[in-house]
């Protein structure tokens, strides 16, 4: 084998639950972080609008002050928050994370980005992961976010906005893999 280039991705297949299911990882507040506790929940749907029951989602986010628990950030992060979560689809394609609302994170040139959660989706039928960002529809700084404002199509932009559900601090974010309402996915 050669090590001249990166190892290619391959699908997680249908049986990933065996190796990847870590139920405790869907709750990012288990170490008692600072900030506003929220839930992010929704479904993953395929090109027929059918729920995808064999998907795994991972999130990576900053703490309530907008700091990542990582040496590249350099600023001290909340010791009670580590920013990573994983959740499996249930039979209805649903998932749920409990976390804190992230703060604003520096973007290019030091301008602040709007609060967002980075989302990765793996599934049978995905030969490599899909990546998107979850923004919060009720966040005033969205208008000045360089990534959101760089998306020309308003319908595609809307697919990145999680909607607050009534009283409980739960946000709804569906991922549509293909077709009508298809989520805007990123390449970076």
């Amino acid at each position: 084998m050669s090590s001249d280039g990166a190892t290619p991705s391959q699908t997680v297949g249908p049986f990933f639950r065996l190796g990847l299911d870590r139920p405790e990882w869907s709750d990012l507040t288990r170490d008692g972080p600072r900030g506003d506790k929220i839930a992010i929940e929704g479904r993953v749907l395929d090109g027929d609008g059918a729920p995808v029951d064999d998907a795994v989602r991972e999130i990576w986010q900053a703490d309530a002050d907008g700091r990542y628990d990582h040496p590249e950030d350099g600023r001290p992060a909340d010791p009670g928050f580590h920013g990573f979560g994983r959740a499996m689809s249930d039979e209805g394609g649903r998932y749920r994370f409990v976390t804190v609302r992230p703060g604003r994170v520096p973007g290019r040139g030091g301008a602040l980005q709007a609060p967002h959660v980075n989302l990765t989706v793996f599934a049978r039928g995905l030969l490599k992961q899909l990546v998107t960002r979850i923004y919060f529809a009720d966040e005033p700084s969205n208008d000045r976010d360089p990534v959101l404002s760089g998306i020309a199509d308003p319908a595609a932009r809307r697919t990145l906005l999680a909607l607050r559900q009534d009283a409980a601090a739960a946000y709804r974010f569906d991922v549509v893999l293909q077709g009508k309402g298809e989520t805007a996915f990123f390449d970076f």
Partner: protein, 232 residues
């Protein structure tokens, strides 16, 4: 702090989303082009796993012994350019020697092994190395096309230093005649890249009178040479 973005793969080095020969991609591949995103702190940071417990011997559960050919699977996690990736999480899962997963949805008519779960977990050492003792997984049929069989493989999930380096892949075995027929393996257009999915038999890794050794190095995407942000 100087910040370099992670490099993009060259054409053909990664599979596409839509690959007609793999039927499950047809309703799951996005129909629109991905949007280019300039990397920020969000992409060049990523999770760390400080307190993970390891599970590196899959052949000996609490009591009993897994059936099958014992193998040692070991290798290095490196970034393109060769820098070792230390202290990162490697997760693996596989079917048993008969080609059956310990998973409710696996209906293949092959026996389960009560002494084999097929789940492993390791943290790379300071040289980026990992090592598992497991058994050779069997080939198994799948319904992608009539009489289709997946080549023997082990699923790998690795993180690396950043959200941008996250990788889930499959390790295959050298000389497997099913590789030429497998649409998942062959979804990677570039042949040299595809070959990086195949482990190498390594006599030096084999343990005399005990287990065969297969080496599988995982190469994660490396950094570009120019920083996108200077010192702060």
């Amino acid at each position: 702090m100087s910040r370099e973005a992670y490099a993009h793969p060259p054409p053909g080095a990664q599979p596409p989303y839509l690959h007609r020969e793999y039927g499950s991609t047809l309703k799951r591949a996005p129909s629109r082009a991905l949007l280019p995103l300039e990397q920020t702190l969000s992409e060049i940071t990523g999770p760390r796993f400080r307190a993970e417990s390891e599970l590196v011997d899959l052949t000996r559960p609490a009591k009993g012994e897994a059936l099958g050919q014992r193998i040692i699977v070991a290798g290095k996690l490196i970034e393109e350019g060769g820098r070792p990736v230390r202290s990162t999480l490697v997760e693996l899962w596989q079917c048993n020697a008969a080609g059956r997963y310990l998973h409710g949805k696996d209906q293949h008519d092959a026996p389960l092994d009560p002494n084999f779960t097929g789940v492993g977990r390791a943290i790379t050492n300071d040289q980026g190395e990992y090592r598992f003792l497991t058994i050779l997984p069997g080939a198994y049929p799948w319904r992608n096309t009539y009489n289709a069989w997946r080549p023997a493989h082990i699923h790998f999930s690795v993180f690396g230093p950043a959200f941008a380096t996250r990788l889930v892949t499959q390790m295959y075995f050298p000389g497997d005649p099913l590789l030429a027929l497998d649409p998942i393996y062959n979804s990677v257009p570039d042949e040299a890249a595809r070959r990086r999915l195949v482990s190498a038999y390594d006599p030096a890794l084999s343990q005399a009178e005990y287990a065969l050794g297969y080496r599988f190095d995982v190469v994660l995407r490396g950094r570009e040479s120019t920083p996108f942000e200077g010192r702060r």
